[in-house]
Amino acid sequence: MTHGSGGRASAQLVEELFLRAFDNDWLRSLNDQACFLVSSGRMVAATDSHVVSPLFFPGGDIGCLSVHGTINDVAMAGAKPLYLTAGFILEEGFPLSDLRRIVDSMAAAAREADVAVIAGDTKVVEQGKGDGVFITTTGIGVVPEGVHISGDRARPGDRILLSGTIGDHGVAIMSLREDLRFGTTVASDTAALHGLVATMVEMVPDIHCLRDPTRGGLATTLNEIAQQSGVGMRIREAPIPVLSQVKAACEFLGLDPLYVANEGKLVAICPPEVAERLLAVMRAHPLGADAAIIGEVVDDNHHFVEMETAFGGWRMVDWLTGEQLPRIC
């Protein structure tokens, strides 16, 4: 494939693949930009670049992942996502059939999420300078009236809710990439969470924080919010849902599921008096069926996140500088 520098081949690619897959008036107009009407109130934008190896994995592929990831970032402001743009960096020689699969998957994900992909771009880099395909997506959404969700709003006493099992995505990717088998196959949890978020903010507008624990896992997300809000957190291991295969895989691999990536889970922080109600709302939604209250926000000027382990006793859930470095001396 030699598309890319604005020549004919590139136009052909856009037309053939994207236009057909994402089909909408904005793309059909073939302008270099998309115009859309804005509503009153607050809008949000989020952008995310997606790099994943392997590109196709149980539960999804880089295409739907790049849609879900950005929709989720928009949704974590409590917003309804409306539009997406997509930028592709393709490695020379990348099979067109694979690209078609990816684009079709993106389109299906966008359609299912009721979000239009309204602009896009493609560049091709020399062989060896990319890893098949990288996709950057940008999302635009609107925040409903009365919703103020932000990572700095966690307050002591607030409850911490988790929408479902953790570690599925990371383990799915790793087991495929390294050809590891842990009994039954673990599928990635990649999913668009805005539908779940919509019911949550509708039923419980007073949610303080929402975040999707992607890279770095639940541990990193909780530490980020703790830092941002200037609070500490005390969570319990017992209610945190982990699939048994994921748990076993993590044990074998020496990984802590708290630090393993997710692509279809969210953490919600809300005042204690609405926590049970929020939990019920989450559980009523298919993407929150395994939701649980996993702990609470505490006053702690060290911003520590600590966990009561399943055996009793407490251990820190620290943020990490990089990879988990061995430390047992």
């Binding site: 590891l180 074998f252 020496g254 006793g313 407490w314 820190m316 988990q324 047992i328 001396c329």
Partner: protein, 777 residues
């Protein structure tokens, strides 16, 4: 160091004396008073922030005699480091010697460690005619709590946990009487005016019982677990002979196999179940009263079922508070006098730290009722607060000189003399078995063992200890030192502290610090080679190190060599599962296909694959993991239940087997300074005799290490080697390496005053930071 121009013998002279060292709160003023009065000298003595200050007047020979006796006859807990003398103009009339009120001012004196109840107090404790008969808080200037009850200096009652207890007339008289053993004994107390014991049920409700001690012993005999408030924290106590009670304690503490320590009445009671030589007895009976690991007699597991399952050693301590003694006294039927203290007693107690799994000791009564809920069936508490948390110290004494495993009560915070004066440094240590170190002049104060910094409570304890030691030692640090590991809480705390106080921070490589700690305590200057044998510590190249041959100059080091790295499949998980290290060794030997047959675990296949593809399997030169690999290959232990278990079991087997020659071609010394012990592991993999294998492993490892270090000595021209790192807690290895090197005429230095493990890191860090700083100037 007499002043120049000393007057002639008959003349009356007057000296101002400044006594430095551990001289406060140890009965030093009454002692000085007694000496001066006996010699008929005039003058005065008082405490101030810097030590003991005194003036004496009289004939020169008498003054000289006084100064000699001040050093030689000092009370048991005193340690005189120096006496500065200044000649003064004699006063016209100076017939009396007086003890003057303490003067506050710059705090400069060390806080002394806690000390076990002394013989004189024991005599009173068991004398029915004494007013302190069976009083659990008896003490005097020669004994009792110090570090754990001092909130600030100078060491005066209002600055201690005794502040709230007003003295009764009799105690006041003793406290004010210079010739009394309790003159200015700050914690002095009696049944009328002092702290009281109370018994509480499992919910913390006070129980009305006629005699707390009798009731407590009754509960112990009935197989109950008691939380007993001690000096630096609570103990969980039960009858060591009742397997069921021990099992309940294990279940409650969620501690499946990690050994418990026991307390016995005296040395005479130990004979049937452990061997206690004179050196060990000296340690056991010292005022520090540490836990000492003693070799067990055969059949020990039957005597104390479940106390230290399968281990060749048992941790033993003797009573150190009057309360401990009173429990044994009660069990012995309240005999009169102290003769029973020399006779064998039947009662043996399990005494383990009263803390929820892995957290710091509980110190406060209400906190105990809350945090030990479910662990203890009842509580024996009192109303004297514990101001400083302090665990029992642990030493081993089975081979060679005693070695610290954990340094805390009875030793902390006594200073270690450094080779030179330097700027004040605060060093934060590692993350496991953490201690901190503060330096002042040429003294290094290493804190008590603070534990693993993996829970908020331990981190709070770290912070409190830093604040407390800065206060009582009156130190304003000029530098902060920490480990290289960016994710250690101690490193993060160090950086935050440095930023908050505008101080520079120095990162010290883990094994550099291990060796520097040994050099510091031996006051070594210049170059030294270091053999650091350890678990893992982050290396300067970002990889986990742990079997290092270093050349250490004061502020810097050079990595001369290291053990051949092995993969750590699963990172820290490999440290808990020796079979993984065995798998790693098999893989390195090209025998990876054996992994799934040898280890029919779920997961063996995954681990084999991880090794093949290098998934979460960083390479480490760790010596500790080499022990694990050997234990795994010999089938000694697949999964460790507590840190170091596999290595301890391996040492136990080798000890039983006795001396075995090293394997001739068990190691290869590479050109690049790499010591490769894979041939040894290859041999062990096919041996099928764990005892023999354990012995061969120790002998060959030691042989390889010695040859390695000897070559490095020859190459560098440095004739001395310091041994550091947790693996040197292994007595066989330590002895063999030391003897091997000494046979080649090499000077060997070991950790004596601090543990060789991470408990000593803070001293090494502080010393390196000081040296770096001094070099820059």
């Amino acid at each position: 160091m007499l002043p120049v121009g000393s007057p002639s013998v008959a003349e009356v002279v007057r000296y101002r004396l400044r006594v430095r060292g551990q001289v406060q709160g140890v009965g030093f003023r009454p002692f000085a008073y007694r000496l001066a009065t006996e010699l008929g000298l005039g003058g005065w003595v008082r405490n101030d922030g810097r030590g003991v200050d005194m003036e004496v007047q009289g004939p020169l020979p008498d003054l000289e005699r006084l100064m000699r006796d001040l050093r030689l006859k000092a009370p048991p807990l005193a340690r005189v480091e120096g006496i500065e003398v200044r000649e003064m103009a004699p006063r016209p009339a100076c017939p009396n010697f007086l003890i003057e009120q303490s003067r506050t001012g710059m705090v400069r004196t060390g806080v002394s460690p806690d000390a076990a109840v002394c013989d004189a107090c024991l005599e009173e404790l068991f004398d029915p005619a004494d007013r302190r008969y069976r009083y659990p808080f008896i003490n005097c200037t020669h004994c009792g709590p110090r570090y754990t009850i001092i909130g600030a200096l100078p060491y005066d009652r209002p600055n201690t946990a005794m502040a709230g207890f007003g003295l009764c007339p009799e105690c006041r008289r003793e406290y004010g009487e210079p010739l009394d053993r309790r003159f200015h004994a700050e914690p002095v107390a009696c049944p009328t005016c002092g702290p009281q014991l109370t018994l509480h049920d499992g919910e913390g409700l006070a129980l009305a019982v006629p005699d707390v001690l009798a009731a407590a012993l009754g509960l112990i005999r009935a197989g109950q677990v008691l939380a007993v408030k001690g000096l630096g924290g609570f103990h969980l106590v039960c009858d060591a002979r009742q397997g069921e009670a021990v099992a309940r304690l294990r279940a409650a503490k969620i501690r499946a196999e990690k050994p418990f320590a026991v307390m016995a009445a005296n040395r005479a009671s130990l004979a049937p179940w452990v061997r206690c030589d004179d050196q060990a007895a000296l340690l056991l009976e010292s005022t520090a009263r540490p836990i000492v690991l003693l070799p067990r007699e055969p059949g020990g597991d039957d005597q104390f079922p479940g106390v230290a399952p399968g281990l060749a050693w048992l941790g033993v301590m003797l009573p150190y508070t009057p309360l401990h003694y009173l429990l044994f006294h009660e069990a012995a039927g309240r005999p009169r006098g102290t003769a029973w203290l020399r006779q064998p007693q039947d009662l043996v107690l399990v005494c383990t730290s009263g803390n929820p799994r892995g957290e710091p000791l509980v110190t406060d009564n209400d906190e105990a009722f809350r945090r030990l809920h479910g662990l203890a069936d009842a509580y024996v508490v009192h109303d004297r607060d514990i101001l400083v948390r302090c665990d029992d110290s642990v030493l081993q004494s089975n081979r060679g000189a005693p070695v610290f495993i954990r340094r805390a009560r009875g030793y902390a915070p006594a200073p270690i003399k450094l080779p030179a004066r330097g700027p004040s440094v605060l060093a934060l240590g590692g993350t496991l078995k953490n201690t901190i170190c503060l330096t002042r002049g040429d003294e290094a104060f290493v804190s008590q063992h603070l534990g693993d910094l993996d829970n908020v409570a331990a981190r709070t304890a770290l912070e409190e200890t830093v604040a407390h030691l800065l206060k009582v030692l009156d130190i304003r640090p000029e530098r902060v030192a920490h480990d290289l590991h960016p994710d250690f809480h101690s490193s993060r705390f160090a950086l935050a502290f440095a930023a908050a106080h505008g101080l520079p921070a120095v990162a010290v490589q883990h094994h550099h610090a291990h060796i520097a700690a040994v050099m510091a305590e031996h006051a070594l200057r210049g170059s030294c080679l270091g053999l650091a044998l350890d678990g893992v510590g982050l290396g300067s190249d970002g990889t986990p190190w742990g079997g290092e041959l270093l050349r250490v100059e004061e502020g810097g080091f050079q990595r001369l060599g290291h053990l051949r790295p092995l993969a750590l499949p699963g990172g820290d998980r490999a440290a808990r599962e020796p079979w993984r290290m065995a798998a790693s060794a098999l893989h390195a030997l090209g025998r990876g296909s054996e992994i799934i047959h040898r280890f029919p675990h779920e997961g063996a296949e995954v681990v084999a694959r991880m090794l093949e593809r290098g998934i979460n399997a960083p390479f480490t030169s760790s010596a500790g993991r080499l022990f694990d690999a050997a234990a795994g290959l010999l089938g000694v232990k697949d999964r460790a239940n507590f840190e170091g278990q596999a290595a301890m079991l391996l040492e136990g087997l080798a000890l039983c087997r006795g001396g075995t020659p090293p394997l001739g071609d068990g190691y290869v010394l590479g050109e690049n300074g790499i010591l490769d012990l894979l041939p040894l592991l290859d041999h062990l993999a096919d041996l099928g005799d764990p005892d023999l294998g354990a012995a061969i492993f120790h002998a060959t490892l030691a042989g390889g290490l010695v040859e390695w270090a000897v070559q490095a000595c020859a190459r560098t021209g440095i004739g001395r080697v310091a041994l550091g790192g947790g693996c040197f807690l292994n007595g066989i290895l330590r002895t063999a390496v030391r003897e091997g090197l000494e046979r080649m005429g090499i000077e060997v230095y070991e950790a004596r005053r601090l543990p060789p493990n991470d408990g000593g890191l803070s001293l090494g860090q502080a010393w390196v930071a000081q040296a770096v700083l001094l070099q820059k100037e």
